[in-house]
Amino acid sequence: MLAKLFGGTHRKNRVYDFHGGVHPPENKQQSNGTAIQPGPLPARLILPLNMHIGAPAKPLVAPGDKVLKGQMIAEPVGAVSAAIHAPTSGTVSAIGPRPIQHPSGMDAICIVIDSDGEDRWVDHQGIADYTELSPGELVDTIRQAGIAGMGGAGFPTSIKVNLGDHQRVEQLIINAVECEPYITADDRLMRERAADIVAGIHILQYLLNPRRTLIGIEDNKPEAISAIKRACKGCDIEVRVVPTKYPSGGEKQLIQLLTGKEVASGQLPAQVGVVCQNVGTAFAIQRAVCHGEPLLSRITTLTGDAVAQPGNYETLLGTPVADLLQHGGVHSQQLGRLVMGGPMMGFTLHNPAVPVVKTTNCIIAASPQELPEPPPEQPCIRCGSCAEACPANLLPQQLYWHAKNDDLDKALHHNLMDCIECGACAYVCPSHIPLVQYYRYAKGEVRQRAADQVKADKARQRFEARQARIEQEQAEKEARRQARLEANRKKKEAGAAAPTGPSAEQAAALKQASLEASKAYKAAVKAAKTAEAQGDDNAADLKAEAERLKAVADKAKAAVRDAKADAPAVAAPADDAVASLKKQVGDASSAYKAAVKAAKDAEASGADDAGDLRARAEALKATADRLKAELRDAKANAPTTPAAPQTDPVAELKKQVGDASSAYKSAVKAAKEAEAQGADNAAELRAEADRLKAVADQLKADLRDAKANAPAPAKAAPAGKAPPADSPKVPESDAPQSVAGVDPEQAAKRQKRLKALKTAYNMAHKQYKDAHAALERAERHEELSADEFNAMQQKVDKLKGKADVARDALDALVEEAKADIRAHTGKDLKTLKLEAARAESALADKQQELAQRRDSAAEETLEALEAELKALETEAHIARKALKQAVEEQGLVEE
């Protein structure tokens, strides 16, 4: 503190030093001798939406729109962004990808303006006295003018000059160093427009209210220094002359030179109380504020041996470099390298159509002698010259070593990210190592690695979330299944206790009883009503009596129906078997329904015989089911519903595919066996198998095509399936129950393993197939030598072997799972599948029938049909469930 107080005055004008730095030949005299000249007015201007660092601007115009000079054509999006204005009047001819100012040579979205040559301005006017505006409004003016740092990076200026309330600017530094060789844009600007620059600096001072304002200029620009000094006379701007040394114009280096402060790694100068602006930016601010002119052009140095008239040109933004070169006169046969920016930090252009943008301070069209092809890289001799030159005080030789070996962690430990890519190290390196490229490469890898890490973490999270979800679903399913099993078990117990149905002899008696019962009930009701009407006391009694009688009557009716159902042969006419069966089914169903209802009523009224009734209902159901099955059989034997045409191409193809695949499979098997036995014809067999496979594949492809072409028949396909020949044996509840006997944990394990194996097999198989295809291709084109061919053949064989092993393991596991199912359900997987399929098709048939007869049939029949449908649905459901459970528990996902 004390030191600061006492040291204050004598330190005041001190210029500090920074570590390292180099002195490349300046090459400024080519371009700094002539005054700034106007650039060309090209026929077509290309304005990238990203001329600055940050978010691309959003276009405000559409192709075909007419624009005037100075009209905003793209607005800033978000805080770190800058507006774009039409540099001349004309028509927007396109908005699309064009090559832009990027070392990759890639394209980005640009607004293309065809100029009309009139250069007509939009209405604009400057602010007479900006001190009347609040800093906020002024910042907005700058933002609307699209000003971005003109020194190199292109950071939007409005961000830099918009400080938070708590921030205090100690020093405002105006960067007029221009340390890169060749570039003289700022030099000329200062010589010719010093007053405007100083006016711009005053605006910055008003905005930032810095304690001190410093302009740093390198001592190789004496004219500029005197011009600026003259313009600054009488105001509080201090001109500091710094020794010529590259890279003293680097923001961090200049701050260190003028203030002795270091900007902490990863922080911004504002955090040490410094704001740094380029002279060009100060000039642009002055134009924007005092004249209302947005940033439309900049001074660009055009230099290099291949240029006829090197010098500085006031170039419209968006001017293609080719136009500028033509304007300055380029000897294209002398051109060896085209650099945008300076020779130390610029980048080579891939395409002269790249436009001049806000940051383009220089275009070097160099001859091959001037900037020769870099010599081959030699081994690093660890001479340390690079470390002596590095302004960031890094150890470039170590960075290089680690970057070269992809040892990113070590490189980061050596502060790779603090490298400013100034190129001083590569400049001095006696071994001509492209050090900067190594660092850029390593930085890219570091960023990529970070991005990959983020992505991997996200993938892990998603994977785990999915896994958890699947597990939970399975747990829920398991719970439901358990509940159902429990219910089924109870039901069965109840069913076991039920008596058998009444005999046929009892039928008449039952009918009689029923009639009597209903009579009695009706009488009772009547009596009750009269009694009620008369206000009789015993009305309630009577009512109760009526109820009881009703129950009895119902019971009797049900019994009668039962009896009927039990003796269908007597009742049904024999001429149309199917029709009669149908009727019977209908009857049986309704009998069942009635019985159920009766049982329910009885239960509700607490009648003793509820149990009986329920039992009877069960029996009736069984009958109904049996009948239904019969009906189905009968139908199958004499199909009444029109089946889908047998010639359905899809079905046909499918069959062919199936045949072909099985032929292939058996061929493969045969081949394998032959191979195993070392038979001579193994190769032949394999060839045959391959041929078959090709056939199968072809057919499959055909099938796919056919399906795509004829989606309707494909959907109708299930209807075309032959109805099951035998009576579907409804698995009822036994399948799930027995499957439940499998140890779930074991099953889950197997399931996992199965899945993994399957993926492994798929992968292996795919690799094999690819390799095989490659081999065949090679064979066909005879492009391989015998050795290569053999090697490839071996690889294919190896892959094949791997796939086979995987498949065998998979097969074994599947077999095991199947055996398990058999052991636990008493049925093998095939049966279960068959059952499910049958149930499904029966269901489909019924649905169709119902649909057909909806309008024509009698109410009663419909009802019956619906009932049947319901029953079938349940069946199908159960069968499906049984199958699915069996399959899932064993981890056998359907192929």
Binding site: P376, P379, Y441, A456, A459, R460, F463, T759, M763
Partner: protein, 194 residues
Amino acid sequence: MTAVLIAIAALLGLAAVFGAVLGFASEKFKVEGDPIVDQIDDLLPQTQCGQCGHPGCRPYAEAIAEGEEHNRCPPGGQDTVDALTDLLGRDAMTVDDDGAEDADVTKVAYIREDECIGCTKCIQACPVDAIVGAAKLMHTVIVDECTGCDLCVEPCPVDCIDMLEVKPTLQTWGWNRPAGIGQRPDSRIEVVNL
């Protein structure tokens, strides 16, 4: 003779001292790390592709922890194998990828949407839920979430899923590593319109 004895004694003494120091340091500065499975899982690329023969990276991490070989992850490439070698202190191995296509090429799945029949099979196959869609409706891949695992390609009945290489964008583009000692680091570009 005594000199030799003294020398041996001195060496032994030194060894004992250093051993003690090292032992102490390793106790004192022991890194309380994640459980080993987590550490392994962190190194795996999380592509969740199953090429290692496990239904995802985590299960493979568990298997490695239980002693399975650590070279089975082709997406991770040799780098991952090396990192695992370091972590586990096992013998170095080369990655077992059977010359599969270049693991460096990142790919993502892309559904040709007008061909998709909406069968949902790919959704079920995707290990990271990067595919959205509903039954009978067109499906699509969320490119940012896709790990390029390839698992959705096989189940698609109409083969409408392609694995496309991820092209660098301006944001992801990076400089190449220079060609190395003895090579010129530049390249030539053909320029026509000048």
